[in-house]
C-alpha cells in the first residue's frame, strides 16, 4: 500500500483501535495494546494440572522437599514477603490487580500494579551481548500479521522446590492478540508457551485473557511492604495477621 493510502486508511479507521504506530514508513497499521488490563479469571487458562517434569526435575523436587518441607505458607511465602514475581507468573497470575501497557514505536512497556514491576518488550533489532538474568528477562517482539510474537530469555531461574521452577534454559514465546469485541468487550489474548527442556519434558501453552479496564480505572500505587511501614509510622502494635 502506498504511504498516502496507508495514512488515509489510518485516518478513516480512527484512533480507537488502530494507533497506526509504525517503526518504518512501509509498515502497516498495528493493533494497539495500550491501556489498563485486568486478568479474566473465568476465561483464562491455567498451568497444567500435572506438570510434565523431566525425571531429573522430579528427583530434584523430591530431594528439595525432603530437606525443606513442611513449609508454613502463611508465614514463609516469598511473595507475601514482597519478593516479586518472575515471568511467566507475572502473565499467568489471576488476581484483582491490573497492569498497564504503554506502546511506543521501539518498545512496549508493561507496568504491573502488584510489585510495581516494569517489563520492556523491544521491537527493534536484536541486541547483542550477554545479559544478566532478571525477573522480567529480556523480551523481543515481532509482528506476524496482527499478532505480536514475543520471545523472552534470560529469566532469573527459580529453585527446584518452587511452585513454578525454572532453569536458565527457560524460554517463553507469547502471542499477543487484540480482540476488540470479545465476550467481555475489548480483550487482550495472550497465549504463553513455556519451553524449559531442563524442567519440562515438553512445552505447554497457557491461554490468558485480559479485559480492558473500565474508563478512568488506572494502575494504583501499591507498595508491597506498605502495611509494615504504616504500622512502623503509626506506632501501633496490633498484630498484622499475615506477617
Amino acid at each position: 500500500m502506498s504511504r498516502p493510502l496507508a495514512m488515509l486508511a489510518c485516518a478513516l479507521i480512527g484512533t480507537g483501535l488502530v494507533a497506526c504506530s509504525r517503526t518504518t514508513e512501509q509498515e502497516p497499521a498495528r493493533p494497539d495494546f495500550s491501556g489498563v488490563w485486568f486478568p479474566d479469571a473465568k476465561a483464562s487458562g491455567r498451568w497444567p494440572g500435572e506438570r510434565p517434569f523431566t525425571p531429573a526435575m522430579v528427583a530434584a523436587r523430591e530431594e528439595w522437599n525432603r530437606t525443606y518441607t513442611p513449609i508454613d505458607l502463611t508465614r514463609d511465602d516469598e511473595n507475601i514477603s514482597c519478593i516479586p514475581y518472575t515471568l511467566p507468573h507475572v502473565m499467568t497470575t489471576i488476581p484483582q490487580y491490573p497492569f498497564e501497557i504503554v506502546v511506543t514505536p521501539q518498545r512496549i512497556y508493561q507496568l504491573t500494579e502488584v510489585f510495581g514491576q516494569v517489563r520492556r518488550i523491544d521491537l527493534g533489532p536484536e541486541e547483542h551481548g550477554d545479559q544478566l538474568p532478571t525477573r522480567m528477562g529480556v523480551s523481543h517482539g515481532h509482528w506476524e500479521g496482527d499478532e505480536l510474537v514475543v520471545e523472552t530469555t534470560h529469566i532469573l531461574p527459580l529453585y527446584a522446590g518452587h511452585r513454578e521452577p525454572s532453569s536458565p534454559a527457560l524460554r517463553l514465546v507469547e502471542r499477543f492478540r487484540l480482540v476488540p469485541d470479545g465476550p467481555s468487550g475489548k480483550e487482550l489474548h495472550v497465549a504463553i508457551t513455556v519451553i524449559d527442556p531442563v524442567v519440562y519434558r515438553e512445552p505447554f501453552t497457557i491461554n490468558m485473557v485480559f479485559n480492558a479496564a473500565p474508563p478512568g480505572v488506572e494502575v494504583g500505587e501499591y507498595i508491597c511492604g506498605q502495611d509494615l511501614w504504616d504500622q512502623h509510622m503509626d506506632g501501633s502494635t496490633s498484630k498484622i495477621p499475615w506477617r
Binding site: 479469571a41 484483582q96 511452585r163 513454578e164 508491597c224 504500622q231 499475615w242
Partner: protein, 128 residues
C-alpha cells in the same frame, strides 16, 4: 477448576508446596461458615497488600471480645467502592465474615455496614 483441585490434592499427597493461585494463601479461613457481629472499631489498617480492622464486640452476656477482620488490598477496596472516609476508629459497624479455622475471632471480611449505613461487599471467591 476441577483439574486444579485434583492437582492440588495430588501435590499435597507428594508433600510438595501447593502452588497458591492467590497472592496470599487464605486456606486458614473456613469459607463454609459465616458469622455477623456488631462492634466498635479500635484500629483500621487501610493499606496494601491487605487491610485489616480490629474491633471490640460485646457478646450476649456483655463480655467484650477482640475481633480482627482481614480483607483485600487498599487499591482493590478503593476500586470497588470503599471511600477514604468510610471507616475510622470509634465507628460502630456490623461485619459479616468467615472465621479462621483455629481462631474464630479472626475473620475474612465479606460484608460491612458502615456507621453511615453504607454497605460494602466483597466476594471471598475473589480473595487474594
Amino acid at each position: 477448576m476441577r483439574r486444579l483441585v485434583i492437582a492440588v490434592i495430588a501435590l499435597l499427597g507428594l508433600g510438595i508446596a501447593v502452588p497458591a493461585l492467590a497472592h496470599h494463601s487464605v486456606a486458614n479461613f473456613d469459607f463454609t461458615k459465616s458469622a455477623t457481629v456488631t462492634g466498635t472499631v479500635t484500629y483500621f489498617s487501610f493499606t496494601n497488600p491487605h487491610s485489616f480492622i480490629d474491633m471490640k464486640v460485646k457478646d450476649a452476656r456483655g463480655v467484650e471480645h477482640a475481633y480482627k477482620f482481614f480483607t483485600v488490598a487498599r487499591v482493590v477496596m478503593m476500586r470497588t467502592g470503599w471511600a477514604l472516609d468510610d471507616l475510622k476508629p470509634g465507628d460502630t459497624v456490623t461485619v459479616t465474615g468467615s472465621p479462621d479455622r483455629k481462631t474464630p475471632e479472626f475473620m475474612y471480611l465479606s460484608r460491612i455496614v458502615f456507621a453511615s449505613g453504607k454497605v460494602w461487599n466483597h466476594d471471598p471467591a475473589l480473595q487474594k
